[in-house]
């Protein structure tokens, strides 16, 4: 059941990962493309925008100011509109003015669009009705009539026009106009001033029912004007770049600039923007799929391996890509974990094999003895003691096995301290001296150094030398002396236990530290068969070594690093 659900879980989580990747990459790439497009659009529209802002500011300023300085607007252009009056047939100033005006209008029609200069002159001649009856150009007539010949009427008229233009502000009485009138005037002025094609003006709301003249915009209300940038306005299928003047009464004036040429760029940009989103999505899907696939493939490999492990196959290892990335580290960790598991499992297997082979027979013997005891009617202490001793032996073997196993797990290092190995040797030799002496063996201690400080567990080293001396007693009883010596090199403490016994057959030397290994001659000598295995295990956790050689007896050499990387216990 679990084997069926795990891969599907993995798949769904990798799908989630792929979707996430796609979204992230999409967001980033689309964002970049849109930002680029938006920047280019802003660059395209910037001059247009500046123009519209300038226009709006001028309008606002003019609407607010006490007097309208139209000449500032018209003065420059008013001279440029030359009207040819040479062939005009006029007998009176009235006729001349009418002909002049007609000629102006003709010229304007010929040019095809209203020119500023023409508009200005028409205004000043009151040919336009926009000014209402504010001021009659009576003085124009009077001025013309004062000339001696009609030939000079043209120059006189031009002079009068310019004169009137000069004194415009005084006559116009701008300050008396209400805001609607000002606006009307300004709009007409603007229409006259600029190319009609370029300027886009619109009063909002577009509802025609709203009568601008009757909205009664007061100057005070106009103070609340706000300027907001509006978006692109489409009117008559033309693009207009606008700003909106809010007029404070709910109405507004939209001022803009037709931007047909920019329209193409802007709409292209809009297309690019959409394309950016789409391209970003495509890039994201491809990249996301590739990355997701790569990750999924590696996860799948790891998953396949762990699946194999679950089924008991510990031989395979993950391949490293060599990139040193997270996946490599994970793979390396899994491999290291597997190595550790294999070594632990072989340890466990060895212990269980040992138990099967070497504990079963003594336990069976014990059982037989107990069975025998049941047949005795009145068992005495002498009948029972051997059984208890047998049980003790089994327990001793068992606890030795357990001890080796625990040592091999490496948990012992916590109890490491620094101590003088010479002290340990002195104590062990002191303890065993009477026993050796009783056995007719001289136990010699040769300490070539005052202090050989090592780090480790001193109790364990006591056990090491105890075991080695026990072995000498048991297997080298014919020795006349056994020597225990201690020297030290720069990096190692070297302890030697050297007996004068028969030694060990060469083929058996490498097997001495195996659990339950006994030389052929000593099958019945007793002992657990674990003494040297324990010695080897203790050496291992201290990162030391133990060597056996035959040298006029058995010579056991122990090497222990003098500065092991152990943290001393407090």
């Amino acid at each position: 059941m679990s084997s069926a659900t795990k891969p599907s879980l993995l798949r769904s989580s990798s799908v989630r990962l792929a979707v996430l990747l796609v979204l992230v990459i999409w967001g980033v790439s689309a964002g970049i493309i849109i930002a680029i497009v938006a920047a280019s659009e802003r660059a395209l529209l910037a001059p247009l925008n500046d123009e519209v802002i300038g226009l709006t500011e001028f309008l606002t300023e003019q609407l607010r100011s006490d007097e309208l300085d139209l000449f500032e607007w018209y003065g420059d252009d008013i001279d440029t509109m030359f009207v040819d009056t040479g062939d005009l047939d006029a007998d009176s100033p009235t006729e001349f003015l009418t002909a002049y005006t007609e000629r102006l209008l003709e010229q304007q029609d010929e040019r095809g669009d209203p020119q500023r200069g023409t508009q200005e002159r028409l205004w000043l001649l009151e040919a336009s009705d926009t000014l209402g009856d504010v001021d009659r150009p009576l003085e124009l007539y009077l001025g013309l009539m004062r000339e001696e010949t009609p030939d000079r009427w043209h120059d006189a008229l031009s002079g009068r026009v310019l004169e009137r233009a000069d004194s415009w502000p005084d006559k116009w009485r701008w300050d008396r106009l209400d805001i609607s009138a000002r606006l009307e005037l300004l709009l007409s002025a603007l229409q006259g001033r600029t190319d009609d094609e370029d300027i886009c003006l619109r009063r909002l709301p577009l509802d025609d029912d709203l009568d601008w003249r009757n909205t009664g915009l007061a100057a005070a209300e106009f103070e609340a004007v706000e300027i907001t940038v509006s978006d692109v306005l489409e009117e008559d299928r033309r693009l207009c770049w606008t700003r909106t003047l809010s007029l404070g009464n709910g109405g507004a004036l939209q001022i803009g600039r037709f931007a047909d040429s920019t329209l193409v760029a802007v709409s292209t940009n809009r297309a690019y923007r959409t394309t950016g989103v789409v391209v970003g999505l495509l890039v994201a899907i491809v990249l996301g799929a590739l990355l997701g696939q790569r990750i999924y493939a590696r996860v799948r490999t790891i998953n396949a391996l762990t699946d194999q492990i679950r089924h008991g196959d510990l031989d395979h290892r993950l391949r490293l890509s060599g990139s040193g990335g997270d996946f490599d580290q994970l793979s390396a960790n899994i491999n290291a974990m597997l190595d550790k598991i294999v070594s632990l499992m072989s340890g466990v297997r060895q212990v269980s094999d040992n138990i099967a082979h070497d504990l079963r027979s003594p336990l069976t013997r014990l059982r037989n003895r107990i069975e025998h005891l049941q047949t005795i009617e009145q068992p005495t202490t002498d009948d029972i003691r051997p059984i208890a001793e047998q049980a003790d032996e089994v327990l001793a073997t068992f606890s030795s096995l357990l001890r080796i196993a625990q040592l091999e797990q490496g948990s012992q290092r916590q109890s490491f301290t620094t101590f003088d190995l010479g002290d340990v040797l002195r104590e062990v030799v002191d303890l065993y001296e009477p026993v050796f002496s009783d056995a007719g063996i001289q136990l010699l201690l040769d300490l070539q150094r005052d202090r050989v400080v090592v780090s480790g567990d001193s109790h364990l080293w006591t056990q090491v030398f105890t075991n080695l001396l026990e072995n000498s007693l048991r297997y080298a009883s014919e020795s006349t002396s056994v020597t225990v010596s201690l020297t030290a090199t720069r990096h190692h403490a070297i302890a030697v236990v050297h007996d004068q016994g028969p030694g060990v057959p060469d083929h058996a030397l490498p097997r001495l530290t195996e659990r339950f290994f006994r030389g052929d001659k000593h099958r019945e000598t007793g002992g657990t068969g674990l003494g040297l295995a324990l010695v080897a295990a203790i050496c291992r956790i201290h990162e030391g070594s133990v060597d056996f050689v035959n040298e006029g007896g058995l010579k056991v050499t122990l090497r222990l690093p003098r500065n092991t990387q152990a943290t001393p216990a407090n």
Partner: protein, 223 residues
């Protein structure tokens, strides 16, 4: 002696309690740590025997708690975890002795009696006397019937230990542990050899054997 045993294995518990009562002690058992801690703080016990692994508060924590409260009742910890680390941990927590399972009852008894007695020995005693045997702790010398006995340091230490536990059975394991710091049993009977050496020296002056062998248990020094 009044002894409290905290042990959740009822078979072990019954066996130990029965043995302690047969040896003439008052012994009672509880089977969880919390009750043990309550009993230990309220009752007047001479020795506490605590299993290391107990339901509720564990043995080592009980010792720590008791010592923190200023309770100095001797504690013997029983444990199936026989490794050095655990032994050190138990002793460091303030327990007085530590015994690994499986154990012989004689071992428990010997240790409990040693712990109970130790409480009564005054630290100021610098001279120990048993019959005509005298031990001067200051000069580290021994005399028997007025004659001085030449002792090696290891022999002196052994005699001192035996005299401090006069009248009590001292097991081989106790001697190995307390005197030589060996927490495992060597195959060879080194203890017997040392005892025999000491005996020879002590008995040289007199025919009265003071160190007696208790079969299946250990040794006892008495008149």
């Amino acid at each position: 002696m009044n002894i409290l045993l905290a042990e959740d294995d009822h078979e072990v518990s019954d066996y130990v309690i029965k043995g302690l009562r047969e040896a003439g002690h008052t012994a009672n058992a509880v089977d969880d740590g919390d009750t043990a801690l309550i009993e230990a703080t309220h009752g007047d016990f001479d020795v506490l025997i605590l299993d290391r692994m107990l339901p509720g508060t564990d043995g080592v924590s009980i010792v720590k708690a008791l010592r923190a409260m200023g309770n100095t009742t001797p504690v013997l910890i029983l444990s199936a975890l026989g490794e050095v680390d655990h032994r050190v941990e138990g002793l460091r927590a303030g327990s007085d002795d530590y015994l690994t399972k499986p154990f012989a009852f004689s071992e428990v008894l010997a240790r409990v009696e040693a712990l109970g007695r130790r409480r009564n020995v005054t630290e100021q005693d610098t001279t120990l006397r048993v019959a005509d045997l005298e031990l001067d702790k200051l000069t580290r010398t021994a005399r028997r019937g007025g004659e001085s006995i030449e002792l090696l340091p290891r022999e002196y230490a052994l005699l001192e230990f035996l005299m401090e536990h006069v009248g009590q059975v001292v097991t081989r394991t106790m001697l190995l542990e307390k005197l030589w710091g060996l927490n495992f049993d060597p195959q060879t009977n080194i203890v017997d050899v040392h005892i025999s050496r000491l005996r020879q020296k002590i008995n040289r002056q007199s025919d009265d054997a003071l160190i007696h062998t208790v079969r299946g248990m250990g040794y006892v020094l008495r008149d």
